[in-house]
Amino acid sequence: MDATILPEVTAVGVIIKAVLILAVISAIAGFGTYIERKVLAFMQRRLGPQHVGPYGLLQLAADGIKLFTKEDIIPQHANKIIFSVAPAITAATAFIALAAVPVFPDFTIPFVDVFVPSIASDVNVGILFVLGMMAAGLYGPLLAGMAQSNKWGIIGSARTAIQFLSYEVVTGLSLLAPIMMVGSLSFVDFNDYQSDGTWLVVYQPVAFVLFLIAGYAETNRTPFDLLEHEAEIVSGYVTEYSGMRWGMFFIGEYANMITIGVIASVVFLGGYNDWWIFAGWFMILAKIAFSFFFMLWVRAAWPHVRPDQLMWLCWKVLMPLAVINVVITGLVMMAG
């Protein structure tokens, strides 16, 4: 750390930060649905939403009103407690994961003089904490599918389990190589390591690609959206959900997309360092926005895979590649 002494982090500051993350990320998640539809529409030569408001911008509000006012249905034979808890798990773990990643720069609120830190909770094992929390988030789909006494739901939750057991190894092993190079699990150290302008993706291109693939499986984005693929299992684990309970799954998924974007930007793409004439806060926002856009691009470009193809890909292709990458990184580090 440099010599400048940061103001003390108080409980009030952390609470303000938590509320800020919750409000802003929820709003972005809502806006993300609009962006997703528009981008997909442009890529598939359609128009996308355009009737509500200018360029369809108010579609967002219309969707919100629809979600809030929809009847909240709990199926007769469902396990009511678990059925109600499941959406909260997805949304809560997604936001808890965001507690340990740097979102927005540090700032001090004028007049009342409260310091709001960049990371709500700066644990020195941040990267592991975020991965663990995102893994815990998969309990949402799993429980939702099992509680609703619906065959599509059960298939959806079975797919959640195999998806989790497939990608989890790849995520961990692909991040291990950069962790070995930096020698720390803290996001701040990753950022400082790349402050000379050389991004880690230059040294670890294989790890970056592996992490992106595993990250898409983790957020169940389209090449790997086995959990709720409409053409096969109606809607998977969300078949019986309506209204705001469904909305919570949705917000959780978009928050997870942003988290994956933050990890990819900070670990591989140079973090929030200044670059050329652009300030650090602009760079990190640009990188997160690009990785969000990249997810939509991938969705427009590829069809989804079957569960057995996902398992084959993760265990027979990606995991050996990740292990070889770790071994080579270790050998180079020992030689150098």
Partner: protein, 188 residues
């Protein structure tokens, strides 16, 4: 002050959740409270400043319980209660209670005797992961390697058990072959 409140929240919730795990007749409740209890236990590590161990607890047990879930999904109907067979509830209660009492005495004895000491206390300036690594690769190197070999053996055994017919695709149409095994032939 915050640690005090946090400790009691985690302690009470852990106890209640694990009691649900033991008492509930519904698979879904039992598994969910087990997973949630494991997450709550990691809270204690965070309070004690052992961030690394807390996160490891989180990742390892979340994954392990997820694997248990997939078995529960295959064997039980998750929405119905399970009929448990109790031959002698009094004996179970007595043995369970005695075991719990013995464990409480074993773990509280050093605290009462006030001779509990950290063999490897937290060193200022050394990160959690580094501290664990140093102890693992010096003092506990042999147990660490033995555990690694044990896991390797288990992994190879698992692959052999599961992967006998891995070269046959599940999705392409499989031509029905005559069983080569003698026992299978006789049973036909």
């Amino acid at each position: 002050m915050y640690e005090f409140i946090a400790f009691y929240i985690f302690a009470i919730s852990t106890t209640i959740l694990f009691m649900i795990t033991v008492m509930s007749k519904n698979v879904l409740y039992a598994m969910t409270s087990l997973a949630a209890g494991m997450v709550m236990i990691s809270g204690f590590f965070f309070i004690l400043g052992a961030d690394f161990l807390g996160v490891v607890q989180l990742i390892v047990y979340v994954g392990a319980v997820m694997a248990l879930y997939s078995f529960a999904m295959m064997f039980f109907d998750a929405t119905k209660d399970i009929k448990e067979k109790h031959n002698n509830p009094t004996l179970v209660f007595l043995l369970g209670g005695l075991m719990a009492l013995v464990f409480v005495i074993i773990f509280s004895a050093p605290i009462i005797g006030e001779n509990i000491e950290a063999s490897y206390p937290i060193v200022n300036g050394v990160g959690n992961a580094q501290a664990v690594g140093i102890v693992l690769f010096t003092k506990y190197l042999v147990p660490f390697e033995v555990a690694a070999i044990m896991l390797l053996v288990a992994m190879i055994a698992g692959i052999i058990l599961a992967g006998k017919k891995m070269d046959i695709s599940l999705t392409k149409t499989v031509i029905q072959k005559e069983p080569e095994d003698e026992i299978l032939k006789e049973s036909k």
